[in-house]
Amino acid sequence: MTLEARGLAKKIGNFSLTDISLACSPGEVTGIAGANGAGKSTLLKLLSGILRVDSGLVLANGQDILRMTPRERAKSVSILLQETPSPFNFVVEDVVRTAGYFIGKNEDNLDSVLGSMGISELSGRRFHELSGGEKRLVMLAALLYQDSSICLLDEPFSFLDVDKEIRTTRAINQLKKEGKAVVITLHDMNALMRLADHTVLMKRGEIVAKGKTVDILTPENAYLTYGVRFSEYMSPEGKRLIADDLLQI
């Protein structure tokens, strides 16, 4: 299912998001990067339909997501929110189950989803007793369980140690293989180079540049986006960027 955004605008207090257009095809990962407060999370919420646009259109396979019923929408679009929830005394299973309640999921593959994230042993644990990283994995498992064709991930790597970062990267690649359209927001441009086919760079609610990741992530565009000078260097993975100031500290 293709995700398409046309001319999105949203005003929240003093912040406004203007004229955002992007597209993401099945089996493709689109990355969104930008400084804190650039509007990445807001954009993702608009794409998911949990926040209503002031103007513009979000289309899932050509259908306006705001005209879908909440259930239809949950079948097509899922979102990993940045904020980790804090329900009263839920066990991990209770948390993951909520993602399938309203779209008629049979609970058979609940275990396999937890297994695919390597967290089967957490299933009976109390959610609030988990570490920040474990909680993120559980929320990602909930998104996998929802099994929608468009997946939006807001900072999927925050709070994760290396092991969990690897598991999350695998999960994202798996979503891609399954033909889902995946949109992720990330601070780390180098992680985008690893994951994203296309990249959108944002600054203060507007798009600075967009296109194929290899073409877009240049020191010039990074400067336009973050206001910080970057240099390129070669890593074992290929070309990467590093902020000049970080080298001089």
Binding site: S78, P85, F88, N89, Y101, I103
Partner: protein, 357 residues
């Protein structure tokens, strides 16, 4: 440290969840039956049992005459409405608390915060001070019920923002309007010194005025409320994960809030209208349920109903006991007086630190 065997839902379970529910299902009727024995006149269990059986259709004739007419009158006309009323009201407040806490994602809320208590108090004071008595002996209940619903919907509609009701607005508006209405109530009481005693008794909550017809009404309304709350337990789970999350997994958030706030307002207002304000139950019983049965609302909602019922029946027994010099004291005083130390025990011993974070 001392731990109750039913400490954890996941760890070393010595009593599985279905067994814990079985305990509730047995305890509630037992507590009700035992409660029918106590009061100013003691009636032995066997007699109480026969009186109760005599009310069962077809079976009743076998038991007629095995007790005195006075005993029948005390059990059926005085004690049953009060004890069964305590069970219904306790269940209503427990479920109301579980639902409201889930919607607001806030552990210190209770059904009263959306304006039920202050509205009901205003209605009651208007009726008591005599400006509203067109429904005769039912004026107090009807006035309190009507004003309670009025204030809840006022809170709800004042919280509307672009067709949505953000829960933070709803909570703040509920607190603000409740304070405003409570001040009106205080002002009216201040101006009617001779009625202060009567108003005080109502504000503290009492089951003395419960009759079979009032019981029937609150039973029907609250059965509906509890049925709806159980039906919406999945939505409540999703709401506890945050409203944005709930929407993203397919919950009709605005419809859910409107339906749940409406049924809770109906059910709890009906109870408050016949009993006055009974505190503590709506706040604490849902937490007790979560500590024993885990947080998922498919368990918390029915458990809160049963535990709320049991708790309030026991409180009613205490209110009638001779501990307080033969006076029947308002049940609202008892609920907090015995409830708070009990809850503190539970919170430290039973939670196993689950509320520490």
């Amino acid at each position: 440290m001392f731990r109750l065997p039913i400490r954890d839902y996941t760890g070393n379970i010595s009593l599985p969840i279905p067994a814990r529910f079985a305990v509730l299902i047995i305890v509630l009727p037992v507590v009700i039956m035992l409660s029918l024995m106590v009061g100013s006149v003691y009636i032995p269990f066997g007699t109480v049992f026969r009186v109760v059986l005599s009310q069962v259709p077809f079976l009743g004739s076998h038991y007629a005459g095995s007790f005195s007419p006075e005993q029948y009158e005390i059990v059926v006309l005085l004690r049953e409405p009060q004890i069964l009323g305590a069970a219904v009201i306790g269940a209503s407040l427990g479920v109301g608390g579980a639902v409201i806490q889930s919607i607001f994602k806030n552990p210190i809320t209770e059904p009263y915060v959306i304006g039920i208590s202050s509205g009901a108090a205003l209605g009651a004071v208007i009726a008591i001070t005599g400006t509203f008595d067109i429904f005769g002996i039912y004026s107090l209940s009807i006035s309190s019920f009507a004003f309670s619903l009025l204030v809840v919907y006022l809170v709800y509609f004042l919280s509307l923002r672009h067709g949505r009701v953000p829960v933070v607005y709803l909570l703040l508006m509920g607190v603000a309007i409740s304070l405003f209405v409570s001040s009106l109530v205080a002002f009216m009481i201040f101006n009617n010194v001779r009625l202060q005693g009567q108003v005080f008794f109502w504000l503290m909550g009492s089951l003395q005025e419960l009759t079979w017809d009032k019981l029937a009404i609150i039973f029907i309304i609250n059965s509906l409320m509890i049925f709806v709350a159980v039906t919406f337990s999945k939505e409540l789970d999703a709401f506890q994960m945050g409203e944005e999350y709930a929407k993203s997994v397919g919950v009709r958030a605005e419809m859910t809030k409107l339906v749940l706030v409406s049924v809770i307002a109906l059910g709890v207002s009906a109870c408050v209208a016949v009993s006055g304000l009974i505190g503590f139950v709506g706040l604490v019983i849902p937490h007790v349920s979560r500590l024993i049965y885990g947080g998922a609302n498919r368990r918390v909602v029915p458990a809160s109903a049963a535990l709320g019922g049991i708790f309030l029946v026991l409180a009613e027994d205490l209110a009638h006991s001779s501990l307080f010099g033969g006076e029947v004291i308002p049940i609202g005083i008892i609920t907090s007086l015995i409830g708070v130390p009990f809850f503190m025990f539970l919170l430290t011993r039973l939670s196993g630190g689950s509320y520490d974070t």
